[in-house]
C-alpha cells in the first residue's frame, strides 16, 4: 500500500504529527483516513456479493454440513428408547444381559408404541443394520410387551428366543450411541463393535474400499484418455485458420450442449452387442456373429462414455491456453537451431501445462463424482462410488451411510486439490 521510495515532505511540518506519521488535510492520520475509505468500498463490495453468498450458504454449504453431521449422528435409538440407552451405557457388552436391561426394553417399547405405532419398527430398522432379524424381533416383542410381567428377561426369552442371543443386545448397545463412528466405519469396510473397538467386515460384505480405489483409478484413466485425445484436437483447433477452426469448434461444442442423457443413450445404441459398432465388426469380419464384443454394461462402456462426455472439459482449457502462446516463441526456437520436435517439446509444450492441469483437474473431479453414465452403461463392474451413495439414498434408505460415503469422497477431492496445489500450483491453472 505504501510506496517505499516515497519520501514525505518534511519541510511542511503541519502535515505530520508528533511521531512523524502523515496527516490528512483535516488533521486525522492519513493511514486512518485510507482505512476508512477502503472500509467503505469493502462494505459495498461485500453487500454486492451478499446475495450470492447467502444463496451458496443456504443451498450448498449448510446442506452439505447437515449431511456430514448425519454421517456421525443417529439418535433414532436413544430418542425412542431412553431407558434402555442409559442402562446399556453401564453394560460392559460381555456379561449376560440383566433383568434391569430387559425391564428397560419392555418399558421403552410400551411407551414408544403409545406415542406412535411406527416408533418400535424404527428402532428395529436401526438395530437391523447391525444384525439381521431385529425388525421382526422388535415387532413381535412390541406386540407382546403390554402383557409382560416381571421377571422381564424370562418373558423376553419366552416371547422370542432371539433375545437369548447376545448379538441382539450388543447391536442395541451399538445403536444406542447418538454420536457414532459406525457409519464411517462401515464406509471403509470396518465394523464398529459394542465394546468400542473395530473389526473387519466379513469378506463377502467388503465393498467400499475397493470401490473408492476403483473410482480413483477410473477417474485417472478417463483423465489420461482425455489428455491424449484432447491435446491433438486443441492443437489443431488453435493452429487452423479461424474459419475452419470455428467449424471444428462447433463440432466440439455441439456434444457439449447436448443433454448428458441423450449422449449416454446414444452410446448404448453404438456399443451394445447388436449395436452399430458390433455390426460393423461382424460385417468386416473382425469377429463372428455369435462372439460379439461386450462393449457396454461393463467397465469398458463406462470408460468410453465418460471419456467422450468429459472430453470438452479437457479440450477447451488447453485450447484457450494454446491460443495465448505467441507463435514467435516456436519460430524463435527454430531460428536458434531447434528441430521441430525440440521446439515443440522444450518450448511449446511447457507453455500448455496450465491448460492441461486445469483440464485434468476439472475432468478428474467431475469423473470422481460421476453418477448417471455409470448407472446407465456400467452394468455390474462399471459402478462407481456415487452409484452406491445414490443406492443408499434411494433404495436402502440408509442415509447415514450415504452421508459417510459422501463425506469420505469430499475429503478425497480436497486432498487431491491440495496435492495439485503443492505439485503444480493452483495459480498456474487456467480455465480459459
Amino acid at each position: 500500500m505504501t510506496d517505499a521510495s516515497y519520501q514525505p515532505d518534511t519541510t511542511r511540518g503541519s502535515l505530520t504529527d508528533a511521531s512523524g506519521a502523515l496527516l490528512a488535510a483535516d488533521g486525522t492520520p492519513l493511514k486512518k483516513k485510507l482505512r476508512q475509505a477502503l472500509a467503505v468500498s469493502r462494505r459495498r463490495a461485500f453487500l454486492l456479493v451478499a446475495p450470492l453468498l447467502l444463496f451458496i450458504l443456504a443451498s450448498f454449504a449448510i446442506p452439505i454440513l447437515l449431511l456430514l453431521v448425519q454421517g456421525v449422528k443417529d439418535n433414532t435409538f436413544s430418542s425412542i428408547m431412553p431407558e434402555t440407552t442409559s442402562v446399556l451405557r453401564e453394560w460392559d457388552s460381555n456379561s449376560e444381559p440383566t433383568e434391569e436391561m430387559a425391564a428397560a426394553v419392555v418399558m421403552d417399547l410400551i411407551n414408544a408404541k403409545k406415542i406412535s405405532r411406527s416408533l418400535p419398527t424404527k428402532v428395529g430398522t436401526r438395530v437391523n443394520r447391525e444384525v439381521s432379524g431385529a425388525i421382526s424381533l422388535f415387532k413381535k416383542t412390541t406386540r407382546k410387551a403390554p402383557k409382560m410381567k416381571a421377571p422381564f428377561l424370562a418373558e423376553l426369552h419366552k416371547a422370542d428366543k432371539k433375545w437369548k442371543d447376545p448379538a441382539y443386545w450388543k447391536a442395541m448397545k451399538i445403536a444406542s450411541k447418538t454420536i457414532t463412528p459406525a457409519y464411517y466405519a462401515a464406509a471403509v469396510d470396518k465394523k464398529y463393535l459394542a465394546d468400542g473397538s473395530f473389526a473387519d467386515q466379513p469378506e463377502d460384505r467388503q465393498i467400499y474400499v475397493s470401490l473408492f480405489v476403483k473410482t480413483i483409478l477410473v477417474s485417472g484413466g478417463v483423465m489420461l484418455a482425455c489428455v491424449l485425445l484432447g491435446f491433438p484436437v486443441a492443437y489443431l483447433l488453435s493452429h487452423l485458420p479461424s474459419r475452419q477452426a470455428n467449424l471444428l469448434m462447433i463440432l466440439v461444442l455441439l456434444p457439449f450442449w447436448t443433454s448428458l442423457l441423450v449422449r449416454t443413450t446414444a452410446w448404448i445404441a453404438m456399443l451394445q452387442s447388436a449395436g452399430v459398432l458390433n455390426d460393423i465388426f461382424v460385417w468386416i469380419g473382425i469377429t463372428s456373429d455369435d462372439q460379439r464384443f461386450s462393449l457396454i454394461y461393463n467397465m469398458t462402456g463406462t470408460i468410453i462414455a465418460m471419456t467422450h462426455i468429459l472430453l470438452p472439459f479437457m479440450i477447451l482449457p488447453i485450447y484457450s491456453v494454446m491460443k495465448a502462446i505467441p507463435p514467435s516463441h516456436v519460430r524463435a526456437a527454430k531460428s536458434l537451431g531447434a528441430t521441430n520436435w525440440t521446439a515443440f517439446w522444450r518450448v511449446y509444450f511447457p507453455a500448455t501445462i496450465p491448460g492441461i492441469g486445469a483440464g485434468g483437474l476439472l475432468v478428474f473431479i467431475l469423473a470422481i463424482g460421476y453418477y448417471i453414465t455409470p448407472a446407465l452403461v456400467g452394468g455390474q463392474d462399471g459402478q462407481l462410488i456415487s452409484n452406491f451413495i445414490a443406492y443408499h439414498m434411494q433404495k436402502s434408505l440408509n442415509w447415514s451411510l450415504a452421508a459417510a460415503l459422501g463425506g469420505i469422497l469430499l475429503v478425497l477431492v480436497l486432498i487431491l486439490y491440495w496435492l495439485y496445489d503443492k505439485i503444480v500450483g493452483i495459480d498456474n491453472m487456467k480455465l480459459g
Binding site: 406412535s116 405405532r117 411406527s118 416408533l119 419398527t121 424404527k122 428395529g124 430398522t125 437391523n128 443394520r129 439381521s132 432379524g133 431385529a134 425388525i135 421382526s136 415387532k139 463377502d204 460384505r205 467388503q206 465393498i207 475397493s210 470401490l211 476403483k214 451394445q272 452387442s273 447388436a274 454394461y297 452394468g379 455390474q380 463392474d381 459402478q383 452406491f388 443406492y391 439414498m393 434411494q394 433404495k395 436402502s396 434408505l397 440408509n398
Partner: protein, 361 residues
C-alpha cells in the same frame, strides 16, 4: 387448463349428480404397459364418474421418494402403487396413512370386501389391486421347438443354453430362483434361505452365471433387452412380457417354473394433499369390475376372487383369452413361490450389502 378442469367438473356433477368438488390427485405407478392398464381401467372411468383429474407419475419402486416427501413435510403424491414389502415397511415406519377397509365396496354378490380379497391383499396401510409375478422369458425365434428352456434350472444352465441372461439388480427373487434352480422345492425356499449355508448356496448358483448376466432395473427394460437380442433369456414381470407378445407381436415365451409371485398395492403417503379423493380413487379402482377390466390390458391377476370370472379377452384381440396368461392360472402355478415379505424385511439390509459386494467383486 383451469377452465378445462372446471368444465370437466361441471359436466361431471351435471351428469352423475356427484357432490365432489373437482380435485386433482397425483397417482404414482411403475410406468409403461402397467400404468397404461391402470389409466384405461381405473383413471379414465374414475375421472368420468367424479369429474376429478389425475396426474399420472412414474417411479421405479422403493420408499425413498415417499420417505423424502413425508420427512420434508412436503407430500405431493396422493396415492402410490407399492410392492408388498414396501407397503408393510412404510406402514411400520409411519410413512403411509392407515386405510379403513370399510370404504372398500362389497362384491356384486354381497360378499364383504374383507372376504373377497385374496390372502395377501389387505393390509393396515394398503390394498392390493393385482397379483404379479417375476418369471423368466426367452425369445422363441432363437430356439428350435425341441431344445427350449422349460425349467428354472435351464435358466441357470449356460452350457446347455449359452447366451446372456437378464436379471433384476436386486437380491429379491434372484436368490429364490437360484435355489429353485439348485433343486430346492418352492415351498422350502425361505427355510433354506434363512440359514447361512442356504444363502451361500444361492450366491454360489448365481455366481455360476455371473459373467453372462446383464442387470436391469426398470420393468420396461427386460422386454427391450430380449427384443434387441442383448440377452437370450431374462427374468421379467410377467405382464411386461405378455404385452410385448400381445401388442407388439414379439415371439417371446414365458417359463412359469419357479415364478415368484407378489401383490402390488395402493398406498397413501402420510399427509397426502388430497387424501379424501385418493381414498375414493382407491375404493373405486379396487372394486370387482375395475380389477377385471384391468386384466384386459395386462396379464396381472385381479386381487379379488369375484373378479376372476369377469376376466375376458385382451382389449385389442377378442380371441386372446387372458385367463391362461395369469400367474395364478392352474398350469402356471405349479411350482410358484409366494414372495416372503417378512423374510425380506428382516434380511434385506444384510443381503443387499452382500449382493452389492458380490456384484462389484
Amino acid at each position: 387448463m383451469k377452465r378445462a378442469i372446471l368444465l370437466a367438473a361441471a359436466s361431471g356433477i351435471a351428469l352423475t349428480g356427484s357432490a365432489y368438488a373437482a380435485d386433482t390427485i397425483t397417482v404414482v405407478s411403475w410406468g409403461g404397459a402397467y400404468t397404461k392398464s391402470q389409466v384405461e381401467a381405473y383413471h379414465k372411468p374414475w375421472m368420468a364418474k367424479t369429474g376429478n383429474k389425475i396426474v399420472s407419475e412414474d417411479y421405479n419402486g422403493g420408499l425413498a421418494e415417499v420417505k423424502a416427501q413425508v420427512e420434508a413435510g412436503n407430500v405431493t403424491w396422493d396415492i402410490v402403487d407399492v410392492e408388498l414389502s414396501d407397503a408393510i415397511r412404510g406402514c411400520d415406519e409411519g410413512l403411509l396413512e392407515e386405510i379403513d377397509h370399510s370404504v372398500l365396496p362389497d362384491a356384486p354378490d354381497g360378499t364383504p370386501a374383507t372376504e373377497d380379497f385374496i390372502g395377501l391383499a389387505l393390509h393396515d396401510c394398503a390394498v392390493a389391486n393385482i397379483v404379479w409375478s417375476t418369471i423368466y422369458a426367452y425369445d422363441g425365434s432363437k430356439y428350435n421347438a425341441f431344445e427350449r428352456p422349460r425349467s428354472m434350472a435351464d435358466f441357470f444352465n449356460t452350457k446347455k443354453f449359452p447366451g446372456k441372461r437378464g436379471l433384476r439388480k436386486s437380491p429379491k427373487a434372484n436368490l429364490e430362483m437360484a435355489l429353485v434352480a439348485d433343486g430346492v422345492a418352492a415351498a422350502d425356499v425361505y427355510d433354506v434361505l434363512s440359514t447361512s449355508e442356504g444363502v451361500d448356496r444361492a450366491f454360489a448358483k448365481l455366481d455360476s452365471i455371473k459373467d453372462d448376466v446383464v442387470w436391469w432395473e426398470a420393468g420396461a427394460q427386460p422386454p427391450q433387452l430380449l427384443a434387441d437380442g442383448e440377452v437370450k433369456m431374462t427374468t421379467a414381470y410377467n405382464g411386461r412380457i405378455f404385452n410385448a407378445m400381445a401388442s407388439e407381436g414379439k415371439p417371446f415365451e414365458i417359463v412359469w417354473d419357479g415364478q415368484v409371485f407378489d401383490v402390488d398395492l395402493w398406498a397413501i403417503p402420510k399427509g397426502a394433499p388430497n387424501k379424501k379423493a385418493a381414498l375414493d380413487f382407491l375404493a373405486f379402482s379396487t372394486d370387482t369390475q375395475r380389477l377385471a377390466d384391468q386384466a384386459a390390458w395386462i396379464s396381472y391377476g385381479p386381487a379379488r376372487k369375484s373378479s376372476a370370472p369377469l376376466v375376458g379377452a385382451y382389449n385389442s384381440d377378442p380371441d386372446l383369452a387372458m385367463g391362461p396368461h395369469m400367474p395364478t392360472a392352474p398350469g402356471n402355478f405349479m411350482n410358484a413361490i409366494a414372495n416372503g415379505f417378512e423374510f425380506w424385511a428382516d434380511n434385506q439390509d444384510e443381503l443387499n450389502e452382500r449382493f452389492n459386494a458380490w456384484l462389484a467383486s
